[in-house]
Symmetry: C2
Subunit: 139 residues, 2 copies
């Protein structure tokens, strides 16, 4: 297996060493989230075929679904013309949003400039995170 070093050299990471990654569910076509990758998380994603990001708040690698079980299987990884953004075509297991929605984009700005929720929740965030943390503790 390649070590993916050559491809890393061709991408433009920002001054914090990060590149934005858009995750789009391959079945529904829904854009489910945008997060950031550093070199290490991108290589891990390319090798393991599970989306792995860099958490800016926790300052560490973050495999999507590691707490919730809502993994993202990576089917295709695309780059844009400027090589400074990634588009992941993924199969979203469960929902992408920690608030309980399939997509993090569950709110729109209406013509009055107000925020409106336009999606239904698909899971109870308290249940799923608790359940999975318990099962992790048991391991």
């Amino acid at each position: 297996m390649t070590d993916f070093i050559e491809i890393i050299k061709q991408l433009k990471f920002n001054k914090d060493g990060l590149i934005p990654a858009v995750a789009q569910d391959i079945d529904s076509g829904e854009v489910v989230m945008v997060a950031y990758m550093n070199e290490e998380s991108l290589i891990k994603t390319l090798k393991g075929k599970k989306a792995c990001y860099y958490s800016r708040s926790r300052q560490k690698l973050w495999t999507k679904g590691e707490n919730s079980g809502n993994f993202q299987e990576v089917k295709q990884l695309l780059i844009d013309c400027d090589a400074d953004t990634i588009l992941l075509k993924i199969k979203q297991h469960g929902g992408a949003c920690h608030e309980g929605y399939f997509s993090c984009f569950f709110r729109k700005i209406n013509d009055k400039g107000e925020i409106e929720i336009i999606r239904e929740k698909i899971f109870d965030k308290n249940k799923i995170y608790k359940q999975n943390l318990l099962s992790l503790k048991r391991k």
Copy 2:
């Protein structure tokens, strides 16, 4: 018409005063590009219903299509759970990519870590930009 000041206060712009915006074609579902907005370009987009970004390289507002004619009609503007990313559902006129493709994401990274072009060009970039610049000069 609202001045959209209240909604601006609820969004999280980064330290450079920018917020990333993903543009998704509403008919095909294709993610066509990711660019950045500052407060002014976001308000202009909300008011005018044509996607307007902030060009980081040119350091000025940039209404997509102003040179190429390939405008983006904004049909819906969504925000994510963290209020730090925008998703624009747009009708893409012509192609979004200055290289001549419908989407800027016309290349994938294959399993060997190589870049592969996976889309066909839909316009000749030399023609379309020249044509439109000429027509602008005539005005």
